[in-house]
Structures are given as C-alpha cells and as structure tokens.
Symmetry: C2
Subunit: 146 residues, 2 copies
C-alpha cells in the first residue's frame, strides 16, 4: 500500500486494458446520458459524432475502474477531490482502453497532519494511442502512521 | 431548441430531482469504482468516508442524466468538451439531488462558423442545498442555421 512518503514526482503507472462494446455504450447512455448519439447506432449517424459514441462519463467511469483495479494501490483507497477533465476525442464501440498516470506534484497538508495531496495526470488511451480522456486530478493520499 | 444566439450570460436553469439509493450506489461501485466505501455499507464505516458514499463518477453520471432529461435543450444535444470538476462533499444513500446551472460565458468559434462554446457552472445539490459536485464545463453549442 502506498502512502504519501512513497509517492514522488515523475512516478508512472500503466493499467490493464478493457474493451468497450456497443451494448455497454448503449446501456450506460440509456441510464445516464440518454441522447441519440449514445443510445441509438442508426440515429447517431446524423449527429455531431457521426456514429455511436460513449458518454464522456462512461469513459470516465471506465477510467476509474482501470485505476482502481490496476493502478497504484493508495493506502485507504483512491480518492479524488476533483480536477481538470477533458475529452479530446470520443470513445467508440470496440475501443480497447488503458490508462497511464504520472505524478505531477506531491504536497503534505498544512492543516491535517495525516494526509496530503498528489496531482496525477491520468490519460485514457486507445491501443492506437489516441487520447480519449485527460484528467488532471487532485488525489488524497494518507501519510504513513508513525 | 436552443442555439448559440439564444444563450446569454446569466441565464439559469434548475433540473428535476432524483433520489439515489444504497442499491444504486453499490451497483455503480461494483461496476466502475470497486472500493469498500462504494460497495459495502459495513466495511465503509471504517474508511475515510465513515459510511457508504457514491463514487464521484456516479454523482457525475446522475448530474448528466438530470441535465439531459430536464436541463436546457441545446440543438444537436448536450455536448461537453470538458471542464473543472470537484466533489466538495460525498453523495450518500437517500440523497435527493437536483442540478442548477448558470451561463458564465458565450463565445462563437473563430475557426468554425457553425458553432461556439458556452461555459456553464453546474451545481449538483441535495434538497438541503449541500453541494455534492461542481462542474464548470465548456459546452459545444451550435449556431442557428441561416
């Protein structure tokens, strides 16, 4: 388990891969983002996306799954406070996604002696290295108990 | 349907409400964010959250559902390019959530004459006005065809 003392600027990690299917895209879209380009492959053709695309929140949720199941094992869990999120390209059916991360900064808390924050740059990429999501996230990391 | 010409700084909207249940929190957690504080009410007690909490991505996904089903009807869909996301407090079982929005800026694209970007401040709130999520999002908005 990783504590704040174990984290250094420049540390990297790479997750496993996961393939997203048309069925999963449609199911997520129907539940959380019911718009034709996320729920209906035919209707999606005449939209901005020109075909079925995953909700950005689906890409984000898959990214979290990849982080939690194959990213760094922070003591106490992987807990993000927020950050800067963008979707440069849309996730498509059949995309094989993985996540890479790099530690951009590490800072102990001034007010809470048991914790600190690390800024991670999290990229969600296809097997062709197309960037589907970028998340620069402030992550809560606990200090090693004395 | 709203085009860029219909959007003005200061315009506001409020969505309907949705109640999030323990079962939904656990189901989302098992699928996308499998950590004890999102999946196991008993184990969650001894974690940072002190009890079951929704994944931030679940809060984000519900926010999108509230926007798409009861927010502003942008022509061509509600399409976010990204933005600044934070979760000041954790969503809990039984929370009754709604979303408020305000237009912070509107700007036609310099390179693409058919569209522009609006910055929206999207707050996800409980019925007690506790802020569960803040998303300052760059939203693609199409111009009215001539």
């Amino acid at each position: 388990m990783l504590y704040l003392e174990d984290i250094e600027v420049g540390m990297t990690f790479t997750s496993q891969e996961i393939t997203i299917t048309e069925e999963e895209i449609v199911a997520f879209g129907l539940q959380f983002d019911p718009q034709p380009f996320h729920t209906d492959p035919d209707a999606a053709r005449s939209t901005f996306f020109g075909g079925l695309a995953a909700s950005g929140w689906h890409t984000a949720a898959i990214t979290m799954r990849l982080l939690v199941t194959g990213g760094p094992a922070f003591a106490g869990g992987t807990i993000g406070a927020g950050g800067q999120l963008s979707w440069p390209t849309a996730t498509r059916p059949g995309d094989r996604l993985h996540v890479t991360g790099i530690v951009e900064s590490v800072k102990p808390s001034k007010s809470k002696p048991d914790r600190g924050m690390a800024v991670l740059r999290i990229e969600t990429l296809t097997s062709d290295s197309e960037l589907r999501q970028l998340f620069i996230v402030n992550t809560l990391v606990f200090r090693r108990p004395e």
